[in-house]
Amino acid sequence: MNWLRDLIGKIIRALAEWVDRCLPEYEPSAWNDADGIQYHNNCYNYGCDLQTGTYAQPGRASGITLGDDDMACGPVTNGATADGLVPVSCEEGCGCSKCWHQVALVISPGWDYHWYRKDRDGRWSHKMAGSAATNLDNSGNIITDPRTADRGSYTVFCGCFCVDKSTVTIS
């Protein structure tokens, strides 16, 4: 029966690899060029794993402009969902019905928004504006959960979203 056990193992591994193909690898060197890629892509680009070079803004591709009064969960969520991001329970995750990966939105109230993304290794990483991408929080700890990470003034956790990078539209 060894052949059956081996076959089942191969099927499980193949299934896991098939699901993993949708999850972004933590590969900071693909973003941190200290040049155009790094400087023209922000946390939203990084979260969606899409290098548009436009410093993408939630909703802009759909005609939504976020203003000074929109730095709260509602308006930024509206912009993101207009772009094709889908709100999801952080515990449930995104599953594999589409080629999803998971991101999380946080807010510094009245000031700014910021995104994290869950990588293939199960940890989270992020990219602050034109700075280098990292998987560390403000305290220098690897981010295992953005809800408990040291986020400085970005104290409001809005929630998690699913991204299918082949269908979302950001600009």
Binding site: S29, N32, D33, A34, D35, G36, Q38, Y39, N42, C43, Y44, Y55, Q57, P58, L66, M71, V76, S108, W111, D112, Y113, H114, W115, H126, M128, A129, G130, S131, A132, T134, L136, D137, N138, G140, R151, G152, S153, Y154
Partner: protein, 135 residues
Amino acid sequence: MEQAEGITVRVGIFSGRPNPEMTFTDDAAETIANLLREAIGSNPTHAQPRPKLGQYHGFIITLSPHLAKRFGLPAHASIYEGVIAEPGSKAESGWRDVAGLERYLLEQAVRHEYGELLERVGVDTSEFGEPGSSS
């Protein structure tokens, strides 16, 4: 603005929203280009420190192609905590800001009335005048 000779400097305050920008032309652009040229290549150092979310995270400088060519500079440069990142270095090396470029840009940012924003992200701008002052 004469795009051919201009420099745009983005002030590192926000993570997601577009950051404030300053544009420089003519003598002001040449001053920045000279400070950048003085620093680049003169004193190699480690990578820029890792900025903290919600804190000041330096300046991103974009030179017009003509100016970059004339001064022999890269099209983009960033400076943070006294380190200019080496373009193409995968953000792993840089040069010390021996010319005082970051201080000059902080002073310019205060003059452009970004002092209050900088104060909110942890920069002490008192030595450059009152936050929000246009003088």
